[in-house]
């Protein structure tokens, strides 16, 4: 009965959304905001990647909020699972040794991943990529050993400090602008960074710094999340 009504309502939703969609100007949107930004961004912000300009400059506070959400989720997961860290020691005995190939491969991959991650972060304002993508790669780089060599742990204290400082860094850069009497998070060019040349690494004012903060923060949060969940008392999860 419940399934039937669920299907009925889902079908209804599908139908209504389709009806709705036919009325929307998909593919021919007015793009009021988009056009403005496309025109203004190269001069105002100076990034090659306009998505990055939107993400960090025009909607910087969104990104800050998003980092905060990630941080919140990580903190909550820490609260939920962290209380049982004594179980992780017990767990280790039950799991077999790591395999040679996987562990060596992960050793080889790690520096590469770190380099790629930082590259993507630093060139985020010029090419597709950025702090989020790079941050995820960094997280993977540090999480890989945990997967391939059971028993390895990552220092949670380190993660806490990195995520804290990276998040604080993002905000500090924003507050820095306020010190000069400018609005919060304004990407400003005329202090010690200089304006930079459009298209080069040192351009777009404080944006690369912001992306670095984002990358580190995302990396630390994700690594923390993955490690915490992997350390959870998995033995008690049903294995049938």
């Amino acid at each position: 009965m419940r399934n039937i009504s669920s299907l009925l309502f889902s079908g209804g939703l599908a139908f209504l959304l389709l009806v709705l969609a036919t009325q929307l100007p998909f593919g021919h949107t007015s793009m009021l905001l988009g056009n403005d930004i496309l025109q203004a961004a190269p001069d105002e912000v100076g990034t090659g990647n306009i998505v990055a300009a939107v993400l960090l400059a025009y909607r910087g506070i969104d990104t800050l909020g998003e980092l905060a959400i990630l941080f919140t989720a990580a903190a909550s997961v820490g609260l939920i699972l962290g209380q049982r860290s004594n179980h992780s020691a017990k767990r280790d005995k039950t799991i077999t040794e790591s395999h040679f190939i996987t562990s060596r491969a992960s050793d080889l991959m790690m520096p590469l991943l770190i380099i790629v991650g930082f590259y993507i972060i630093f060139y985020g304002h010029l090419t597709p990529g950025g702090g989020f993508q790079g941050g995820v790669i960094l997280a993977i780089a540090f999480f890989l050993p945990v997967l391939t060599r059971p028993g390895t742990t990552i220092d949670h204290g380190m993660i806490t400090i990195i995520e804290g400082l990276a998040g604080a860094g993002f905000i500090m850069i924003g507050l820095w602008a306020m010190l000069y009497g400018k609005p919060f998070l304004q990407p400003f060019f005329d202090t010690f960074l200089g304006n930079g040349i459009f298209g080069s690494l040192w351009s777009a004012g404080t944006l690369p710094l912001l992306y670095l903060a984002v990358g580190l923060k995302v990396g630390a949060e994700l690594a923390g999340l993955l490690v915490t969940i992997s350390e959870a008392p998995a033995a008690e999860v049903e294995r049938t």
Binding site: R2, F9, V51, L55
Partner: protein, 146 residues
């Protein structure tokens, strides 16, 4: 709308994802599967959001990639929004996963109905309406599968 373009495929896909996700959330009993359905649902919504900046002839909004001068770019705003939405989704999913792990540990079940019943009992005990003696739930750790 004269002729349905490629966007029809896209938004049908988005709506399909939404509806499949929704049906999944409604119909499955296992909370982990419910979470997976939620992921689908969010994917559908993200797709719908990014479609709102879609232009039939548009290119990626990156200035240095050597597009022809006159080419229109896609709207960069929804792309930024979707990035945000995805990260938010990841955070929520991670939190849900952690909760599910702990609930499994605590209640020895992933069935939403059973979890609800045990939760209601626990709440009743909390508020003192039911005495703890009449506990239906097995003590934590006192019950092992396999």
């Amino acid at each position: 709308m004269t002729m349905p373009g490629i966007e029809v495929v896209f938004y049908t896909g988005a709506i399909g994802l939404i509806v499949i996700g929704m049906a999944g959330v409604l119909m499955v009993k296992n909370v982990f599967r419910m979470l997976l359905a939620l992921v689908l649902l969010e994917a559908g919504a993200s797709l719908l959001l990014i479609l709102s900046g879609f232009r039939e002839t548009g290119v990626a909004p990156i200035l240095l990639s050597g597009h022809a001068a006159g080419q229109l770019m896609n709207d960069p705003v929804p792309q930024a929004l979707v990035l945000t939405a995805i990260v938010i989704g990841v955070g929520i999913q991670a939190l849900a996963l952690a909760l599910i792990l702990r609930i499994k540990h605590r209640y020895h079940s992933l069935d939403m109905g059973e979890i609800r019943e045990q939760m209601e009992h626990d709440i009743a005990v909390n508020s003192g309406v039911v005495s703890p003696a009449s506990a239906q739930s097995p003590e934590p750790g006192g019950h092992h599968h396999g």
